[in-house]
């Protein structure tokens, strides 16, 4: 199947928001999503964007039942390792179920890697849920390694009341 990969623009935010919700549903955390189309437009397409996006698109003749041609995305931003320097973090990678198995996810991830290398990064980092075996298998088959399993790093988070408490001087 023909598909194309390109940089996201502000008009893509409606489809990105739709697919963010689909991905959250798959990860069994749909009620966690607070970001909407408007937030994405402001946060990703203003003067100092918090993130960048890549879209996967299919031609009209392959659009979904609901009429979507934007059928996958990757969202990433630049980060930093105090040991290794510049890095790129892939926040989301998603392809709609009916378009999987055609190399689209791989193409999106490769594009993020290529852009990261061009920016001088030497790591591509992301997270995956331990029960998400199909994703983990896919990533491992592409040559990554599980930093948590191999090195023992745990992901920690402060938010809500805990973050507010932290902010009391």
């Amino acid at each position: 199947m023909d598909f194309s990969i390109r940089a996201a623009n502000v008009e893509d935010c409606k489809d990105i928001a739709r697919m963010i919700t689909e991905l959250a549903e798959y990860e069994k955390m749909a009620d966690h999503v607070k970001v909407n189309q408007r937030d994405l437009e402001q946060d990703g397409f203003s003067k100092n964007p918090f993130f960048h996006g890549i879209m996967a698109e299919v031609p009209e003749q392959h659009k979904t039942k609901e009429g979507h041609t934007k059928i996958g995305y990757a969202l990433y931003f630049y980060s930093y390792s105090s040991w290794k320097g510049r890095a790129v973090y892939m926040e989301d990678l998603y392809v709609m179920p009916e378009f999987r198995g055609k190399g689209i996810g791989k193409a999106l991830m490769s594009k993020v890697a290529q852009l990261g290398l061009a920016a001088g990064c030497n790591q591509l980092n992301f997270t995956v849920l331990d029960w998400n075996k199909s994703s983990l298998d896919f990533y491992l088959s592409q040559g990554c390694f599980d930093v948590t399993a191999n090195m023992g790093y745990h992901c920690m988070r402060c938010e809500g009341e805990a973050l507010e408490h932290l902010a009391q001087p």
């Binding site: 290398l117 599980d146 001087p169």
Partner: protein, 176 residues
Amino acid sequence: MNFKIRAAKMEDCKDISRMIMELAVYEKMPDQVKISHEELQRDGFCQNPFFECLVAEVPEEHKSKQGFTVVGYALYFYTYSTWKGPTVYLEDLYVMPEFRGTTCGTMLSARTVLFAQVAKKKQCVRLQLSVLDWNTPSRDFYAAKGAQDLTVTEGWHFIRFDGQNLDNLANEAPKD
């Protein structure tokens, strides 16, 4: 003990680099440190910096045994959650051992707090970091501050591509 917390300047990068190595030694991975103060200067003080940094400084009369007055740092950068919006990632938080457990150590924690305040001013709704599973003092410290261990509670794992594997992946990107 008198100390102050301030934004790092380019001239601090040598001290920050020294302390990055001290932290790596503590984490039993000193051979993993590949960057020096030069990369820190280039990447932290350019037009679109990759990170920001705060340092803890003591006056001359309280300098360390080797004569250092910059005795702690917090290195962080802004990230994004597609569920919650702008977030902050605390890459490193370190205070030299001889200044820990004293006001400076506690106050740097308070500085983490102040830094969380800065993060809130930037409308960040989350602060994230990582900690090694065997590092009980740090895990206890962050747990006491209300951090959740998402690896334990939700099963999140960090995954990485680097070196030849990253090059191979990038080479397979579709041509524009």
